[in-house]
Symmetry: C2
């Protein structure tokens, strides 16, 4: 059992082995200063001769940087968040930063703990999907006070942190256009199954729905998970509806809705049309295929990585990045054909 054997070879060892000073080793390996090629290669050779690896903690203490970015998600069980985490990992990989992920488990105290964890570990940037529109404010402030912070997908108003997210209004407009082209909304009801209204994205989608479709529609609010979708479907059917167009604030909700409609004999798309939101994660497992608004996760990830890269050069102003989603046509709603 070799567990726990800590690395012993230090910069001083390499310096001795190469016959130079520790400072020279540091410069040779980090390449920050010009130096004679012979000495450099001699140092490099000595280094991997001894199997040297720079001690990141020593470097962190000295430089107060860590080549680390932190991501805090409210919940990894939500496929949209885990997909976002996955994309972000992939996008960060080629950059010099390692992305570490922390799950706040939907809890404000855990969220704070995550922020503290990352601040204490001196991450260069903190990416945060806030749990709560209002109550996460202090957590976001805590973060912005000590590290470059980017809010993702959800926004806490009144904080001086960057924001990268999707244009939810535009998404709802895409849905409205699609629906009004293909459905007689006079004859059949349009129903909104919302998510968590304490999150900015939930709120924006609700407001977007109301702006685009006008008043007088059945609007249900719940949370961003499938169980709520199941309950919402029950509410809709119990309400006496046996047909209609259901707009869900997230794919997981839409999947729950479809599953329960199906169980109780409602046909999609014949009786009910169902439209989701997010377009990443497991949504394609639905049957029938889900029509949804796809968030531009690649562009969002790229925007974040760029922000992080720029911030190490110059301390710019606070950016608010809204990226445009697109409609992804599925079988759960009729196409114009």
């Amino acid at each position: 059992m070799a567990q726990g054997t800590s690395r012993v070879v230090t910069m001083a060892d390499v310096a001795r082995h190469a016959g130079v000073s520790p400072a020279t080793v540091s410069r040779a390996l980090s390449g920050t200063r010009p130096m004679s090629p012979e000495i450099r290669s001699k140092v490099v050779e000595a280094a991997d001769d001894l199997g040297y690896r720079v001690n990141l903690v020593g470097r962190m203490l000295r430089q107060r940087r860590s080549t680390t970015a932190g991501l805090i998600v409210p919940d990894l069980d939500n496929p949209f968040f885990s997909a976002l985490a996955q994309h972000l990992s992939r996008t960060f990989a080629p950059s010099g930063h390692d992305l570490m992920i922390f799950s706040a488990d939907g809890d404000l105290d855990s969220e704070l703990r995550g922020v503290q964890s990352f601040v204490d570990r001196q991450v260069d940037a903190l990416i945060l999907i806030p749990c709560h529109e209002a109550e996460s404010a202090s957590n976001v402030s805590y973060a912005t006070d000590s590290v470059m912070t980017i809010q993702l997908d959800r926004r806490v108003p009144g904080t001086d942190a960057h924001f990268v997210g999707c244009d939810n209004s535009h998404g709802m407009r895409l849905i409205r256009d699609h629906v009004s082209e293909n459905v007689d909304t006079e004859a059949q009801p349009v129903i909104f199954v919302g998510g968590d209204e304490d999150s900015s994205s939930g709120k924006e989608r609700l407001e977007g729905f109301q702006r685009e479709f006008g008043p007088g529609h059945l609007v249900l609010s719940g949370s961003f998970d499938a169980k709520w979708g199941i309950r919402a479907a029950n509410e809709i059917l119990d309400h006496g509806h046996d047909a209609g167009t259901i707009v869900a604030a997230a794919d997981v909700i839409a999947l729950g809705v479809m599953s329960q409609l199906h169980s109780r004999g409602g046909r999609v798309p014949e009786d009910f049309r169902v439209i989701g939101f997010d377009g990443v994660g497991v949504f394609h497992l639905a049957h029938p295929t889900l029509t949804t608004v796809r968030q531009p996760v690649e562009a969002m990830s790229q925007a974040i990585v760029s922000l992080v890269a720029e911030s190490s050069e110059e301390r710019g102003k606070i950016e608010q990045v809204r990226l445009e989603p697109e409609l992804l046509m599925g079988e759960s709603s009729p196409s114009a054909a």
Copy 2:
């Protein structure tokens, strides 16, 4: 814009403010040594008077520990892994450790990079779901050489790392018992849709299937995702089968299978029975509900946290923990009724 303002108050500040020495502050706050209550409370007061927070990096450098555990998953898009990450986060929360998650994106190089990241950041324990049964060996070795390492769900043979996982053989036995009670396996074929055979869990489930059901069954191998399930369903139908019992090596695969069967007119459970494996994540979104083997994720998480806690006290022997799964009855297979 207050971003980037680093914390300035240090232990020396607190010491000055309380009129004691830095060493006393250290002892008062970490509580490792006995001391007079008056001085302690005076120090504590001074500390949160100044809003002092211990600098973790300084402490890490000194103690070579970090109150951090690292988790490396192959892929966060797989709902089983993200559910596992979520459970583990929750289980670690009450312990003194913060869990950081890293996604290897299914890639051996990324996996190595993750291991290095965590080792460099001096995590106290590294939990690893290896990408590949054989080729991850060097990565696991790298980890065990410098930190207490626990393999999760998948095992690389011949390494001296702990292992926590589910008893896949037993899971397959549960499936066999269920199937033979309810289906005439002489009249209709039993088909295995496997996952990645380069992972130990994929291999064990395949072997379990073969041991339990015997030879002569159609066995397909692919990967642990829904797309493969869709392709597998096509292969099965194209093979000429119009009925049978399909055992999938994972729920995501089963969902893909069901979705595609459904699309091509196969009825579940009337024509095809479908049984999954994992029982966590989004499997309950299936329609009909999926019969599956549920991995004991809570017990697995608990076992890991216990191992980590114990390892800080004593350096025990290498543990191999196999926990028993249970059958979760759904509508995708007939129950004895």
